[in-house]
Structures are given as C-alpha cells and as structure tokens.
C-alpha cells in the first residue's frame, strides 16, 4: 500500500489529508492522472511531487510502501 498526502488547496479539494491506495509500479504521472479523475482535481498536475520527502520527477516509478506527497507551489516565508 501507499500513503498519498495532500496539502493546502489540494487537501481542501480532496477533503482529506491523506488516502491509502495501491500505487506501486505506477509512475508519478500515472498516479496524478488517477487522482485527477478520481477527485476531479486537475490542479494535481501543477503540483510538484515528493516521494518519501524528496522531490521526484513525473516519470519516477512508485515502489511498495513509498509515501507520495503532492506539493502545490509553495508560499512559505
């Protein structure tokens, strides 16, 4: 299983801080497409992605137990 984390606007749109799904073997891009359809969340494509707290490119493949976080454009400071 994989934990998927949502923040900021994405979290409000999904209505949850996280979900658990089976995403191992998929690419980040594939996961984003699934999220877009499942939650009507086209903005997931404007987000960066972190796998296990490190930024990862769209073509990276998700492994079993990876934690995935979608990172909308940041605005700290």
């Amino acid at each position: 299983m994989n934990k998927i984390l949502f923040f900021a606007e994405l979290q409000e749109n999904v209505g949850k801080e996280s979900i658990e799904i089976e995403a191992a073997g998929q690419s980040i891009k594939q996961l984003k497409e699934y999220i877009e359809q499942e939650y009507n969340l086209s903005k997931v494509h404007q987000s960066m992605t972190a796998i296990n707290e490190e930024f990862a490119p769209n073509d990276e493949t998700i492994k079993e137990h990876d934690t995935i976080a979608f990172i909308p454009p940041v605005s700290g400071g």
Binding site: F7, E9, E53, P72, G76, G77
Partner: protein
C-alpha cells in the same frame, strides 16, 4: 530534527533563534524576520494560515543550511518557521545567519529566504473579509485563485 531547523506552532523568539548561531568566532549575525503584512496587492488581510508538510519542510530547511555552509563555509544558520493561524504583524519566519564578517551574513541570509520560497513545503492561506485563498507562488510574484475566481478582482 535539529533545533536549528524547525517548524513550530508556537510564537517564534527572535532572541532564541539568534542565540542558536552566536559564537565567539562570529562578529556578525544577520536575521530576516517575515511578518504578516496587512495589505497585499491592495487587499486587506484579516489573518493568515500557514500549513506545512512538517517532516519534509524541516529536512528542506536543513538542506538550505547545508547549501549555505557549502557557499559560505564559516556561516552558521538557524531557520524557524511558524504554522497555524497568524495575525497581522505576527512573525512567520526567523532566519539567523552568523558569520565572522558582515557581508557574508547578509548574502547567506538573503539566499536562505529565497530558497525557502522555492523548495520548502509550506503554504499560506490569506483570509480577507470577502474570501480566502491559498497563495500559490514560489517567489511572491503571482498567485492562483482558489476555486473562486469571481472574487479574485475585488480589492
């Protein structure tokens, strides 16, 4: 996680943050303090809400500290960022960089705030009288609307 790189819900003490980096070898400490500004692009903010991906954000703050140590080997850095609800004038972030000589402290501190706005997973939501919006920009140059574009131009 190091006391030098923290995400906290508590008010940030400038004094304590500075004391994390003062040492006999350093004659200069530059600090940057980000506070909640009332008026942004003509709109009056009532309060802000900061959210962070805490564990990753602390890692990224530490990474910024390591980048600074590579560029300015004698620098010592501390960065504390607050999350939760913040009122006008509240402190959102304190950066403190100590160096033996002052020019480096300015440059390294400036580098830190720019990097925070690029790579640290922290988000702010502005609350106004007529709406609210997650601010989605890395360098404070643009924002994207939060699903209520019809309210976007009220100011």
């Amino acid at each position: 996680m190091s006391r030098h790189y923290c995400i906290t819900e508590e008010p940030i003490s400038i004094e304590k943050t500075v004391s994390l980096v003062t040492r006999p070898e350093a004659g200069a400490v530059n600090t940057f303090i980000g506070t909640v500004r009332e008026i942004t692009q003509g709109k009056r903010t009532l309060y802000l809400e900061y959210q962070a991906y805490k564990s990753m954000a602390e890692k990224k703050l530490m990474e910024i500290g390591e980048e600074i140590s590579e560029k300015w080997p004698e620098a010592e850095t501390a960065i504390i960022h607050r999350t939760g609800r913040l009122e006008i004038e509240d402190i959102a972030v304190v950066i403190a960089v100590s160096t033996p000589h002052r020019a480096d402290s300015y440059e390294a501190s400036r580098y830190a705030i720019e990097r925070i706005k690029e790579i640290v997973p922290i988000w702010k939501k502005e609350h106004w009288e007529d709406g609210e919006e997650w601010i989605g920009n890395q360098k404070e140059t643009k924002a994207y609307a939060a699903g209520k574009p019809e309210e976007e131009d009220i100011s």
